[in-house]
């Protein structure tokens, strides 16, 4: 009986010192996207709206710009890149500085596993100047 009581006390003590069960995303199995915003508060819409609708905004803007020639709209991919590119690498893609996650666009897109097609054609680096080819 005494032995049982000692065992029970030991078990209680063990449970008390062991850490609380970890939640997903807090250093657990799933890494949350690391979103760093260099110029907070300057976006064309609140963060909630941007998270939900940025793809629609860009899609409608691209058609108006290309097909009708309307320039200078707020939802412009180049404007997004100029503001959101990493200060260290100058890009919205690739590994972030110091290996902590990925840069702005890629961090969320890899987290939610949504393919990011924009940069197959668009330049992901801010203020990039192409050199061109000598024939």
């Amino acid at each position: 009986m005494k032995l049982l009581r000692i065992l029970a006390t030991a078990l209680t003590a063990l449970i008390a010192v062991s850490p609380a069960p970890t939640l997903a995303g807090e250093g657990g199995r799933t890494a949350k996207p690391l979103v760093e915003i260099a110029n907070p508060g300057k976006c064309v819409a609140p963060a909630e709206e941007m998270r939900r609708n940025h793809m629609e905004m860009l899609k409608h803007q691209r058609d108006r710009t290309l097909r009708q020639g309307i320039r200078g709209e707020p939802a412009s991919l180049n404007a997004c890149i100029e503001c959101h590119a990493s200060k260290a690498t100058g890009s919205v893609l690739g590994a972030a500085e110091g290996g902590k996650g990925r840069n702005f666009c890629e961090s969320c897109h890899s987290y939610v596993a949504v393919k990011l097609d924009c940069f197959e054609c668009h330049q992901p680096k801010a203020k990039f100047k192409a050199a061109g080819l000598k024939p």
Partner: protein, 253 residues
């Protein structure tokens, strides 16, 4: 998705637009004209943000082949720098060609003429006619473009073009200019430097030509330099027999 393609309506709008914007005055009664004061010259001023390209404007180029210096490639260099065309493939036939130099030889006397050849920005573009997805398109101001968002890279337009003006991008690209997106699997051609034109600048090739052989402007505006030249000197549309009504005209060929 596609722009309205009614030729009769388009011509009427263009003619009406030319009458108003081009002449700079409106007849309010016989012999009595309302003069437009401080009218914006479309060729030198940037379009305001938020406004669409106007069908009253028809952008065009006039190239004087007599002035085009033999062996000079400044327009090609400038075009490739401006548009970020930098890939060099093992098979040079696969390289993108937005603009190229052509040499014409008169077989009887050996006289050689050089001229730059690029997308001719037809008013009735065959590439737009054949495009199965509507990606090949003509903007209201006459600039023929490829919407890469819908281009599937079938290359039908490359076959339809009588001027061999279009190229397919064969490899993944990373060196694009931010204002000129381009990528693998899409067809591309001269855009008449649409991103510069919208800012009120002239195309890179026109700006780079040391001989001043190229004139850019609004074909619909009778007071523009290009329209005056076309009205005063004989100019040619390459393969004019196809009646595509080209935006690029040549002088001296």
């Amino acid at each position: 998705m596609s722009t309205p393609d009614n030729n009769a309506r388009r011509k009427f709008i263009a003619a009406a637009g030319a009458g108003v914007a081009g002449l700079g005055f409106t007849a309010i009664a016989p012999g009595l004209h309302l003069m437009a004061v401080g009218e914006a010259n479309a060729a030198t001023e940037a379009r305001k943000a938020g406004t669409a390209a106007s069908p009253a404007v028809r952008w065009g180029l006039l190239i004087d082949a007599n002035k085009c210096a033999p062996g000079c490639t400044k327009c090609i260099d400038a075009c490739h720098t401006e548009n970020g065309v930098s890939e060099k493939l093992p098979d040079p036939r696969q390289n993108s060609q937005w603009i190229r130099k052509i040499e014409l030889v008169d077989r009887r006397n050996g006289r050689k003429t050089e001229l730059p050849m690029m997308c001719q920005h037809c008013a009735n573009p065959p590439c737009v006619d054949v495009c199965p997805t509507g990606a090949s398109m003509k903007r209201a101001d006459g600039i023929v473009l490829v919407d890469r968002h819908t281009c599937i890279g079938c290359r039908y337009c490359m076959m339809a073009c009588p001027y061999k003006a279009r190229s397919l991008v064969h490899v993944p690209l990373t060196e694009q200019n931010p204002e000129v997106p381009r990528g693998q699997g899409c067809v591309e051609s001269c855009t008449l430097c649409v991103h510069r034109v919208d800012k009120g600048q002239t195309p890179a090739c026109v700006e780079s030509c040391p001989e001043g052989a190229m004139v850019f402007g609004d074909l619909n505006d009778p007071s523009s330099a290009i329209a005056k030249r076309i009205a005063s000197v004989p100019t040619t549309q390459v393969r004019g027999d196809l009646r595509l009504d080209l935006g690029v005209r040549y002088q001296g060929i």
